[in-house]
Structure formats: C-alpha cells, structure tokens
Amino acid sequence: MIEFQDASVVAPGTTVRILEPTTLTLAERRVAIIGANGSGKSTLARLINGLVLPSTGSVTVDGRDTRRDAAAVRRSVGFLFTDPSAQLIMPTAAEDVALSLRRTVKGKGERASAALAALESIGLGDKGSVSVHALSGGQRQLLALAGVLAVGPSIIVADEPTTLLDLRWRAHVDALLAGLDQQVIEVTHDLDAASRADRVIVMESGSVAFDGKPRAAVAAYRRLMAGT
C-alpha cells in the first residue's frame, strides 16, 4: 500500500513547485497515471521509490517512509524506466540479471542459474549470453523487467515503459505487466492500457485533476486536452 500524505515537490535548486501537496492512498492492483507532458506524472512515480523525495509531507510504502527507509523501500518497489538502455549495466543479459541478485543470492553458480531462470520466465531464455547492445528495444525492456523482478519486489512502478516500443512489443510488455502478481503503477500515454487499470489518476500542472474509474478518467483527460 502506497500513501502520499500532503506530499509536494519543489524542483531542486529552485522555488518552483512541480507537485502540489498531494494526498493519495494507492491500494488497487493496477493503477494508471495519465496526463500531458510536464504535468508531474514522473515526479509522482519517482516519489514512490524515493528517487524523488517530498519537499513537504511524506510518502510511505507498506508503512515505510521513503525518506527514512529508502533502501528498504527500494527493495520492495521495482522501477521500470522509459529507456531501458540506461538501466542495463552489464555487458550481457545474464550478467545484468545476476547483478540484481548480488545482494540476495550468494555464490556465483547459484546466481547464474537464478539469472537464467529469471530470463526464461520472461521469454529471454536463449538470450543469456547475448550482448545487451544486440537486443532490440523490446527485448531490452523485457530484460530490464527481468532484472527488476529477480529481486522479488511487491510493487512495480513503470514510467512510460512502452512509449519507445512498436505496437507488437507494446502489446507484449503490456501483457507481461498485466500478468504480474505485483501491484503495478504505470505512467502511460496509451489510453487503451490505462482503460484496463482498476484506477486512473489524471495529472495536470502538478496536481491530480481526476482520480477514478478508467472510462470517466479518460473522458476527463480528453476534455482537459481539448481545452488547451
């Protein structure tokens, strides 16, 4: 369970408020965040795992404060970025997943087989020794997801994970995210994906403009976009 208590964010080094004080409780299994470019979606998403800390108020995940307990929060919150290239650190797919496992699985052999299992579970079983550069954009996003899932998080936050992908890979990644046991918070411009969520939050100018069921949320978003 994710709780925002009057959390606001001021851009670092400035007095510009990029998120107005926001109070939210996210308990639904599938939450989508939509809104215009620059409306504060990424800021909201990054607050959840402590990549951004609130300037006022607080954010807690399962009762743990992102400011005081950052390491524990990040262990239970996996984060998926738009461009997986920056997220992948090691030269080959298997080594990259193994890197995620350094903390939890001791022993090289165990780590290697756990990494391979993680790759298999996501359909990249034959790509273990392939260079990260040789993977397609879609495969890289899957690999990033495998690295995130390998540590067993209970929540996945994804910031526009399909924006750079073609339609086929988008459908594939969407299906994978939909099938996860974890709670998934997804920032997206894909209104079809948002429509499948249990709850949709519409951001506008750093505040929540609408919060509710998908159909009403998408309608509210369209009205907002038509108005400007």
Binding site: S85, L99, H133
Partner: protein, 212 residues
Amino acid sequence: MGLFGLYRERHTPLHRAPAWAKMLGLVLAAAWLAWCTVPAWSVASALVAIALLASTLPPLGPTLRGVVPVLVIAAATGAYQLWQGDARLAVDLAADFVSLICLSLAVTTSTPLDESMGLVSAAARPLRRWIPPEALALVFSLTIRALPELTRILAESRDAARSRGLDRSPRAMLIPAGVRTVGYALAVGDAITARGLADEAVSVSRRGPVRR
C-alpha cells in the same frame, strides 16, 4: 563495443583458471615485456600470447574489431622506429603491443565481468576506509558499459549536425553530445539508485571500516 563484451561461456583451461591468477599473470607478463628487450624473445612472447588468446576460442568478429586498431598502432610504432634506424626496437615494441592486447583479450574472453568486479572489489578492500569496494567495482563495470554508449551518442550527434548542414562546426556536435552525456549519466544514476545498487555499495562500505 568494449573489450569486456567479449566474454563467452566456453570450456577452456583459461576459462577454468581463477580470475585472480589471470589478472596476476597479465601484470607479470606486462612487467616481463617491459623488461625484455631482446627482439627474438619479444616475438616468441607474442606468439605465446596469440596462442593463449586462440585457446580461449574468442568470438571472431568482435575480437578482430578489438585487435585491429592495436595492430595499426603497433605497425605505426614499429615503422616509426624503423625510420629512426632502430630495427631491434621496432620489432620489440610492435611485438610487445601484440602480446599485451592478445593477453588482455585472453583474460576478458575467459572471465565474466561479474568475476572481474569481484576481483576489483577485493583488490580495493585495503582502501575500504576511504572508498567502498563495492562502489569501485560498480564504477569499473559502469565505465566499461558507458564506452559504447558514448560512442553511440557522439555518432548520433555527428549525424544530427551533418543533417543540419553543420558538418564543420564542432559546437554543433559537441554541445548536444555533452548534454546527452550528462543526461545519460543522470539516467544511469537514477537506475542504479532504483535497482538498489547504490544502497548496496554504501551499506557494504558502512560495514567495512573496522573500528579499532
């Protein structure tokens, strides 16, 4: 792509050898090459180095891409010394270049980066009062990972400058490349934090310093 992308899972004697032994061997070989100035010995060392590299069954294309620039440098250095009238030094230097690149490649094709990282962090352990070893190992692998990314950013910036007709302006290429490099560095920093790797490096270092 970086030399470290060359690792392949194979079953060769060098793959089975422990990483520390290979690294130590590399350091000793470099010392030997610097010390030995007898051309015949240098050439013999180069042949051994080539044989060792071949024994790791390296992937052909990527290995050649790694070797060719060094061969060009070796040939140029040799040619320069030859022109200076020192044939012995020409052979010696060219052979040393070839030996070193082949030996480093033999280590990288037979050692997973994970092991090299472990070694780097072990080697850095005596410094742990000042630098967290895990952090150093992470920086090591990030540097290797960043090289191809920076090459790509430079190439794309050059193409973008060209397509605007700004071929001759270094600024048109370097400013976007610089901005993107900073952007890439920030994104990698975020990703490392998000994956909990930064927390791990710091917590290891916090445990590290022993109070006496």
